[in-house]
């Protein structure tokens, strides 16, 4: 029982609007044009660019992953040094001293570029090959996980 009758069925269009959204969300791929009709009411939509598909609902509790999962190697030849253990990342030998490396430095094979500390054991992080540092992903003193990207470099011919 409704309190007031409307001459045009605005409520119906509202209801259809949510049905329309459900239709778009349920379909695979970006759609260009949709019409839904129920009795007297209908909605007709077309997108200029293909419809941006609504993001799927959040997958439950958010994983507290501080770094990109398997970011893959970009195509520009950049390589990544990853953490071989869990611990605290240090950019230099002590707070007073300067960092082992800075972005832009060219570093030699075997040269130390960072330090990871766990249980008072300090594990030096070293270069395998000659390269120019292009990014440092972790701040001094932050915790790193196993396999976490630490430092990016581009190989440089010897």
């Amino acid at each position: 029982m409704r309190d007031s009758e409307t001459t045009v069925d605005v409520a119906g269009v509202h209801q259809l609007s949510s049905a329309l959204r459900a239709v778009v969300e349920s379909l695979p791929g970006p759609v260009r044009q949709v019409t839904v009709r129920a009795g007297e009411c209908s909605i007709d939509v077309s997108w200029d660019a293909p419809a941006a598909v609504t993001a799927p609902p959040p997958p439950g509790p958010v994983l507290a992953a501080p770094w990109e999962e398997s970011p893959g190697e970009p195509d520009d030849g950049t390589l990544t040094v990853r953490s071989p253990l869990v611990g605290t990342f240090y950019r230099g030998p002590s707070p007073e001293e300067s960092a082992f490396v800075e972005v832009g430095d060219v570093v030699e094979p075997g040269q130390q570029i960072a330090l990871v500390e766990a249980m008072k054991l300090f594990t030096p992080i070293t270069m395998d090959t000659r390269g120019r540092i292009t990014a440092v992903h972790v701040a001094d003193g932050d915790m790193v996980e196993y396999d976490q990207p630490l430092i990016d470099y581009v190989p440089v011919e010897g």
Binding site: A65, E69, V86, G87, A118, M119, M143, Y146
Partner: protein, 449 residues
């Protein structure tokens, strides 16, 4: 109570512990290997730290990385679950050195419980009945052969550092003993780094009866009745139930009191299990003490209503046990079956793979503990357990009917994956099993396995 606990495990037991933490209002930290990045325990925990590659030795058994993860996330305690680091006194010591509470017994107690020869001596002193055997490790093959004169055949050679059915071999003749002695020593050296072995009379057909125990740091201890784990394959449990149809109230009380006596003589603290064999004359014999939460703990939870993992955490946090022995009332009957990705027709060989379909049963009296969801991988790197199905009903017959019903509702499908479900259905339908006449030789005797 702790604010944050790290769970140094994976699979269903990690999920089980995270659930207990959440109900207690404790934040949980998962650790995981690369292979487990999208596993349920990672998703369910409040935080997660990657600790290594797939190989357990470099991840779940990597003590420095586990400890570093706890220190960095500010976890005040570590729950080791079962397996992995759960019975490693060295790990418990390192936890203590780093100011982290190990959720389990003190390192010294773990060491005693882990050394089967020491435990046997302590239990003998506490007046627990022991099967004829050597109280000390045997020094040589000649000593072993000489001991059988007193013990008799069949005899079982056991690694001092073994447990849970690993590191043991049965010999029915002096020739067999020569082989068993050499093999067990070599295997124990390789696996445990400790080649010492001892001998014990072997019972071909007995009941495996184990008592669940809880002890706090204030000298209070209770037992929570028994589980009957007689359905075994090569000393590995396949079906567990409680109460045992072999115990009357008087025997239960006697064995429970013996278990408590033994527990106290070890200075035990936390949750533990004392395993006995019950022979056909109704005599029981101490076997070993397990200083961890066990796979089959939900059987006890179902019949007592006690949350054993929550109790473990509370005891480790220094709380007093709230349960007295009179509060422990057994109700009804519970059965647990382990649904493993194994092929019962090919010697229970693991069948890892991806689950394309996974549907678990529901309804009254049904509990499922699992880390699997549709799409999950059953990894070849770890054990093959997919789920534990625990059913409760008012009596044993109704519990077995319910277990059968629930197994019928369980769908596990994936390319190449076989499960132990058909095996469990066979056992549940077997007249000997239904009659309750189950001993450790059930599989060879009744199923030709």
């Amino acid at each position: 109570m702790f604010r944050k606990v790290l769970i140094a495990n994976r699979g269903e037991i990690a999920v089980r512990i995270i659930r207990a933490c959440r109900e207690l209002g404790v934040r949980s930290v998962a650790v995981y290997s690369t292979a487990d990045a999208s596993s349920a325990h990672v998703e369910l925990a409040d935080e997660a730290v990657r600790i290594g590659p797939a190989a357990a030795r470099r991840s779940y058994l990597n003590i420095p990385n586990v400890i570093a993860a706890a220190l960095k996330t500010g976890a005040e305690a570590i729950h080791p679950g079962y397996g992995f680091l759960s019975e490693d006194p060295y790990f418990a010591e390192i936890c203590a050195e780093n100011g982290i509470t190990f959720i389990g017994p003190p390192p010294g107690v773990m060491e005693s419980a882990g050394d089967k020869a020491t435990t046997r001596r302590l239990m003998a002193d506490a007046g627990l009945p022991l099967l004829p055997g050597t109280t000390e490790p045997v020094a040589s093959l000649d000593d072993a052969l000489a001991a059988t004169g007193r013990i008799g055949y069949p005899v079982v050679v056991k690694a001092v550092a073994g447990g849970g059915g690993r590191g043991i071999a049965v010999a029915r003749s002096p020739e067999a003993l020569r082989t068993a002695y050499r093999q067990t020593r070599a295997g124990a050296q390789a696996v445990f780094g400790d080649s010492r072995v001892y001998l014990e009379r072997y019972l071909e057909s007995a009941r495996h009866i184990e008592f669940q125990l809880l002890a706090d740091g204030f000298g209070n201890a209770v037992h929570l009745g028994e589980r009957d784990c007689s359905v075994q394959r090569r000393h590995q449990k396949l079906i567990e139930e409680g109460p045992s149809s072999a115990l009357d109230e008087q025997t239960r009380t006697q064995m429970g009191e013996a278990a408590l006596r033994g527990t106290k003589s070890l200075g035990y603290c936390g949750a533990g299990t004392m395993e006995f064999l019950l022979d056909d004359d109704g005599r029981y014999w101490f076997m070993e003490m397990n200083a961890r939460i066990q796979v089959e703990h939900p059987v006890t939870e179902a019949i007592t209503g006690v949350d054993l993992v929550a109790e473990q955490i509370c005891i480790a946090a220094g709380c007093r046990l709230q349960l007295g022995q009179a509060d422990v009332q057994l109700r009804g009957h519970a059965v647990e079956v382990r649904i493993n990705a194994e092929d019962p027709d090919r010697g229970f060989a693991p069948t890892p793979g991806t689950l394309t379909e996974f549907r678990t049963p529901g309804g009254p009296g049904v509990r499922v503990d699992s880390h699997c969801v549709p799409g999950a991988d059953v990894s070849p790197h770890y054990d093959s357990m997919i789920a534990k199905l625990i059913v409760w009903a008012s009596d044993r017959r109704a519990a077995l009917d319910r277990a059968r019903r629930a197994l019928g509702e369980t769908t596990v499908v994936g390319p190449g994956i076989r499960t132990t479900i058909p095996f469990h259905q066979r056992v549940l339908d077997h007249p000997a099993f239904r009659s309750g006449e189950v001993r450790t030789d059930f599989l060879p005797r009744h199923l030709g396995m």
